[in-house]
Amino acid sequence: MSLSHTRRIFLQRGLTLVSAAVTVPTFIDSTVWAMADPLDTKRTQQDSGKDGKILVVVQLSGGNDGLNTVVPYADDEYQRLRPAIGKKEAEILKLNNYIGLNNQLAPMKELYDNGLVSVIQGVGYPNPNRSHFRSMDIWHSGIPEKEMTTNGWLGRYFDNTCQGTDPHAGIAIGDSSPLAMKGDRITPLSFERPENYRYNGKDAERYQQLNGGVGVSPTQNGMNDSRGQDAHATKSKIITPGSQLEFLTRTAMDAQVSSDRITNIVNTYQTAADYPRNQYGNGLKTIAAMIRGNLPTRVYYVSLGGFDTHANQAGRHDNLMRDFSQGVGAFWKDMKEQKNDQRVLMMCFSEFGRRVQQNASQGTDHGAAAPMFLVGPAIQKKAGIIGQHPSLTKLDQGDLMFNIDFRNVYATVLQDWMDTPSKPILGQQFKTMPIIRG
C-alpha cells in the first residue's frame, strides 16, 4: 500500500494544518516530515529520536525455571532435589565456582564474556503469588499491593514523560497489548506481525479516500458539533456523530501513516543475523528493523511462551533456552552492526521461577524467586553478577526466597537508563543498584 495518497493530502494541506476544519493525524510531526526525507538529520528530533535510549523487554511467559537457567551446579542440594532434570556440572557454561548458565545459552554466555550481561539473582517480591495471571499482573503493574490495576509501570512512564497521545512511544509485538505498557493516556502500538498491522482490504485507494481523504470535516457534511469546536480539541469531549466520526477518522489516518512507515521499514530491512524461526525470533527481528528505521519508540516488548514446564521439562526447557538465547544473540549482533547498540538496554524476566524439587512428572511446579538478565553495553564492568543466589535449604514452602525486589530493578532501569524519577511511577522510592554505567 503506497504512501502516495496520504502524503499528497498532508503536503497539500501543509499550511492549513492548524485550521479548525481539517482532520489531521496526531503525530504528523514526527512521521510525515520524517518520511519526506528520512535522511534529514537537520530536522529536530524528539528526545526519543535518533539518539534516544531504548529499552527492549523480553518476557518469558509461563514461569521460567530459573534454577535450570542460572544453575547452582556446585550446590549439592540442587543435584539432590533434581535427580532427573538437574543440569550436570560438565555440561553447563560456568560463570564462577557456584553458578553457570544452561548449556543452551551459549550466545548469552558470549555476551556475558564481553561484559554485556548482568545476571541479577534471586529476584521476586513479598508474598509471592503463584498464579500465572496474578503474578504476571504484579510484574506488569509494578504494584503488588493493588489487586486491580488498569495501567502498568511502563504505561505510567509514558504518561509521565511523553506529550500527547502518540502510540509509537511503545511498541509491543504479540497478540495483545501487555498491561505493562498501558498508560492512562497512552496505549502502545501492538501487533502480532507487521503484516497484520495494516488494512487487509484490496481497494486501498478508496479505503483511504473513505478514511481521511474525502468529506469528513464537520462543516462539509453538515454534522457540526454544537459548539463548532476545533477538530483538534479532543480534550473537551463532546460526543456527537460528527465528533466521533472525526475521532475515528483521525485514528484511522494515524494508523495508516504508522502502518505504511512500519511496513516500509520492515520490508527494507536486511540482516545476516540468525534469528529463531518463530514468533519470538520474528518479533526481535522486527524490533531490530524498527530501531534501524529510526522510529521515535522508546520501549519495545516481545515475549517467548511455553515455560510452564509441569511435566517432562528437560528437553522442552532446553529448547526454550536455545530459542531465547539465539534470539538475544542475533538481536545484539544486529545492534552492533547497526551501530545502535549503545542506545539499547534489554531486560529479561519471567512471572515467577519454579520449585526447587522436581515433581513426580519430571517437571517442576510454580515457584517464586528467579534470576533476571539485563543486557547491553550500558552494563557496568563489575555488574556481571548481582545479588546473592537464594538459599536452596532455607525455602518458603519449597520455593526460593527472593533477595532483590523486582522493583529495585525497575527503579534502576527507570532512573539510570531512562533518566526519569522512579518514585512517581512505582509509588515508592526503591533503591537502585549499580548496574548501568553513569
Partner: protein, 488 residues
Amino acid sequence: MAKLHPQLEPFTASSDQPFDRVRAAHLLNRAAFGGSEEEIARVLALGPGRSIDWLLDFPDGASDLISATDQPDFSKIEGYPRSFADRRKMFEGKTAEERMLLQQQMNQANQQALRALGSWWVNRMASGPYPLHEKLTLFWHGHFTTSARDERSAWLMWNQNETWRAHAAGNFGKFVKAVSRDPAMLDYLNNQQNRKAKPNENYARELMELFTLGIGNYTENDIKEAARAFTGWAHDGEAFIYRKFDHDADNKTFFGITASLDGDDVVDLILRHKACAAYIASRLWRFFVNDEPDSAVIASLGEVLRESKYELRPMLRVLFTSRAFYDQKNIGAQIKSPVQLVVGTVRALGVQMPEVNRLNGVLEQMGQVPLMPPNVKGWPGGRMWINTSTMFVRYNTTLWLAGGESIATGRKLLDAGAKFRKAGPGIAVDADGASGELVDEWVARLIQRPIAEERRSVLIDAVGRKPTETTVRNMVNLILSMPEYQLC
C-alpha cells in the same frame, strides 16, 4: 410522583423529527445488536412505545426457560465433569499427587468449557429470541464484574450468567441480593474468605464503589461494617451456603443504623441511599444512550427507578422512549463495542458466527472477550475501544466476517458463508443507472443513516456503472471499512 425531566418525556414524531427507518434502526442498534429488515419494519409499524414493550417482553429467568435445547454443551469435553457430583466422584480416593495431576487436566478442560460457554452466549446474542435480554445480560456482566481468568470454573460462570438473565430487567434490590450470593462473585471478590475471625472487605468495597453507589457516598467505616455483615456468605463449590459460625452476628453501624445487620440488610440500606438510583441510571445511560449523561436527566431517571421500587423495566421503558434517546445527536454517536461489532455484522450480513477460538482471538485484540472483563471496573467502552492497533483489527475483522479477506497473512480462513445477493435487494445487475440505488440500499442496510455526498460518490464509483458481483462485493467491503460503520 416527580415530574419527568423534559428530555425524558416520550419522543413524539413530527415532520422534522419523524419516527422513520433511521430511528427504528437506532432503537434496534441500542436495545439489541442491530435489527434485520423485518425487525426494523416491525418497529416502524409499532411505533416507539409498543416497540420497547415488545423488546422488554421476555421471561425473567434462566436460559432454559427460553429454550431447553439451546444450552452450553460441556458433554463433549474430555475429562470434564458433567455436574458437581461428577466432579466430587472424580477426586474421591486419589492421592495428593493424583489430585494435582487431575486438577491440571481439569484446568485445561475447564478452559475448553469456558470457550464453549462463551461461544454459546455469543451465538444467542446473534440469533436468540430476546435480543434486549441478551444485551442487558451483557451490560450486567460488565457491571457486576467477574472474570473467568485464573481457571475460574465454567460451571460457576454459567451459573452466574443465569443470575444476570433472571434479574436483567427485574427488581434491582433482589438482583443485588442474588449477586451477593453468587458463587463466582463470592470467589472473584473474596467474600468466600470473609469470616468473622478475619473479615475481607473486598466485596463490600466494590459493592458500594462500583456496583451501587459510586465513590464518595460511603465511608471506610461503612465498608468495614458492611464487610462484617457479609461474613459467612460463601459457597460449597456449587451453590450459596450460609456459614453460621463464620458470620459476625454482633451489632454493626451502617449508614447510621445500628443493628445485627446481615448482607440483605446492607443492600436494603444501600437502596435507600439517595445516590443509588441515580448511579444505576447513569451506568445504564452510558451503556445504552450516550457517554456524557446530563446530571439533571440522570437524577430524574433515578427517580423513576426509585418510584417503581427499583423495578428496572419502567425505568428502561422511559429511557428507550425518551426524547433524549431519539435525539439526532445520539444517533450514530456511539462507538460499537467489539461484541456489538461482531454480533451486529454477523446479523446484518446473515453470515455464520466464526468458530470460538478465532472469535476469541479477534475479540481479545479488540479488547472485549465475554466472560473476561479486564478487571472489576468492567469495560470502560466509548473511545477506549479505539487506538491505532484496534482500528485495523476492527476493520479487518468485519472484512473477515464478510468472507471477503483473510485477517491474517495468507492464511486461508473458513468460509464465512457470506452470500451477497447478486446485486442487492431487488435490483437487477445490468440495469443502467442502478449504481446509486444499489449503494443507497447497502448503506441503508449496513450504516442505517445518511452519509455525506462525497463519500456516497466514492462508493458509486466503486460499484461502477455496470455492477457485477465483484464490484458489489467491493462496495460492501468498503462500506464495512468506513468509520461510520464503527458507530451506531
